[in-house]
């Protein structure tokens, strides 16, 4: 592959990598399902039935959080909507970037919090919302704010709520199957003699049931990080000014104030992880973060400098 440097290259490479992870995830899911089904002593057909049920359950649970993503998240965080009259400058910044991105102007919310941060949510561009803390509006200059808003609008344009929902359904399916399998091992003594429940598959299935949910979560986090890189790069295509976002990221991450409205459930949405000090350090721990490390994001942005 050619050397990656322009924002266009970053965008296409991140999209390609998302697909690659998705493909791996699909193969992984199929493999886990097969092993668990064999371990339970089902033939391939019976196993598919169980998978169907698990997918439907996981699907329904995630559909709710997908369909009402804007209302749920905004409700939890306590953000307040603003109109053009309330803050002309912010409203225009968002509106003008939306014109450049070809998106309808989302609802704009402000979070009363001095910690600088921002997020976007909503099931599709027509139901999208973008939220900014009062801290980010005060602490960033216009170019930096523009970079942040472009990043958030890119999440909307890249349909990241949908992408992450699909991922959640897969993770949920695996978690449910593993859970059901372990329960049936515990309570289902009378099923032991069922045809095909051979020992090797039972052992493999126990291992899979314990490890698969963890691996699935790691894949989910890898996709989440990929989408952050992607939103950074697509954001740059809007502003054509990587410096703005780079310096905004540096400012936000060096701000030590924690965001009170954020919790474990909503932390992944923000432009920079709002739970300060919770970023586990070290190479291995990087796997457990929803966001790529700030230095890596800034480095990618600097690569795009002057090459757009």
């Amino acid at each position: 592959m050619a050397t990656v440097n322009t924002a266009w290259d970053h965008v296409s490479q991140n999209i390609f990598k998302t697909w690659l992870i998705f493909a791996f995830f699909t193969v992984f899911t199929v493999g886990v399902v097969y092993i668990l089904a064999r371990g339970l002593g089902f033939g391939e057909v019976g196993g598919l039935g169980i998978v169907g049920i698990a997918m439907i359950v996981a699907g329904i649970m995630n559909f709710i959080s997908y369909f009402w993503s804007d209302k749920i998240v905004l409700g939890i965080s306590g953000a307040k909507p603003i109109s053009e009259k309330d803050n002309k400058e912010i409203y225009r910044l968002v509106e003008n970037l939306c014109i450049a991105a070809g998106l309808p102007t989302p609802k704009i919310y402000v979070l009363e919090d001095t910690a600088p941060n921002a997020f976007a949510t909503g099931r599709d561009p027509k139901h999208a919302a973008i939220a900014l803390t009062t801290g980010i509006v005060q602490k960033l200059n216009k170019q930096e704010l523009e970079g942040v808003i472009a990043h958030e609008l890119s999440h909307i344009g890249n349909r990241d709520t949908l992408v992450m929902t699909v991922v959640s359904v897969l993770v949920g399916t695996i978690a449910l199957l593993a859970d059901w399998f372990l329960r049936s091992m515990w309570f289902g003594g009378h099923d032991r003699d069922r045809e095909g429940g051979n020992t090797i598959f039972v052992v493999l299935a126990i291992v899979a049931a314990i490890l698969a949910p963890i691996v699935a979560t790691l894949i989910q986090l890898a996709i989440s990080r990929r989408r952050e890189f992607l939103a950074d790069a697509s954001g740059v295509l809007l502003t054509r000014y990587p410096d703005g976002l780079a310096s905004a990221l540096a400012k936000i991450s060096s701000d030590k104030e924690p965001l009170e409205a954020a919790n474990r459930g909503t932390a992944h949405l923000y432009i920079v992880n709002p739970l300060k000090g919770s970023d586990v350090a070290g190479a291995l721990a990087g796997l457990f973060n929803t966001h790529p490390p700030i230095p890596a994001r800034i480095k990618a942005l600097q690569e795009m400098e002057g090459k757009i």
Binding site: R92, N96, L97, I99, A100, A101, G102, L238
Partner: protein, 182 residues
């Protein structure tokens, strides 16, 4: 067996042609829609001009030439039918407005008036909006032109006579603006 393979291949090629054709239709319509968005912003820009001219006229009636230039550029912009004409007219209007604001500079009371300030603010926001919609238009043109050049979709584009579109380029006037900034 061989016949089935031949039929399958023919069906696959036909489906590919169909979907590529539809893809081109989508891209072309996106370019048209993006163009109409520029048009909306350009109209918005021109609709602000009469009020602006009126407010300056109140102070500097004698500057007939400037007012005439502005109104001429404005009607050229209103009548522009394609990106090329619009870019030229928009360029002309930017130049004429520059002279208008230069005149306004000489009248502190005019510059201080709430009405004038608001018009100036609206106008500069509209100029940002023109630039943004132009950026979106160019992105769509790029998509269409790319598909018309890369193989194998270029073949389908050629057969059905899809044409490349013109970018809405930065005008000479704006290039000068940038130079002044640095």
């Amino acid at each position: 067996m061989a016949t089935y393979i031949v039929i399958a291949v023919i069906v696959a090629i036909a489906l590919w042609f169909l979907s590529t054709y539809n893809h081109f239709v989508t891209l072309r319509n996106r370019v048209r829609e993006a163009w109409s968005q520029i048009d909306v912003q350009l109209k918005r820009r021109s609709s602000l001009i009469p009020n602006l001219v009126e407010s300056v006229k109140g102070y500097a009636k004698h500057e007939k030439q400037v007012f005439e230039d502005v109104s001429q550029a404005r009607s050229a912009l209103m009548g522009a039918k394609n990106p090329h004409e619009a870019a030229a007219a928009n360029d002309m209007l930017s130049g004429a407005l520059k002279s208008l604001f230069a005149i306004a500079e000489a009248y502190p009371t005019l510059r201080a008036s709430e009405n004038f300030k608001q018009l100036q603010d609206e106008l500069s926001d509209t100029e940002t909006k023109v630039a943004a919609s132009r950026q979106f238009y160019n992105t769509n043109v790029l998509d269409l032109n790319n598909s018309l050049e890369v193989m194998p979709s270029a073949i389908v584009g050629q057969i059905f006579g899809f044409k490349k579109e013109e970018f809405f380029k930065a005008t000479e006037e704006e290039k000068k603006d940038v130079e002044v900034k640095f």
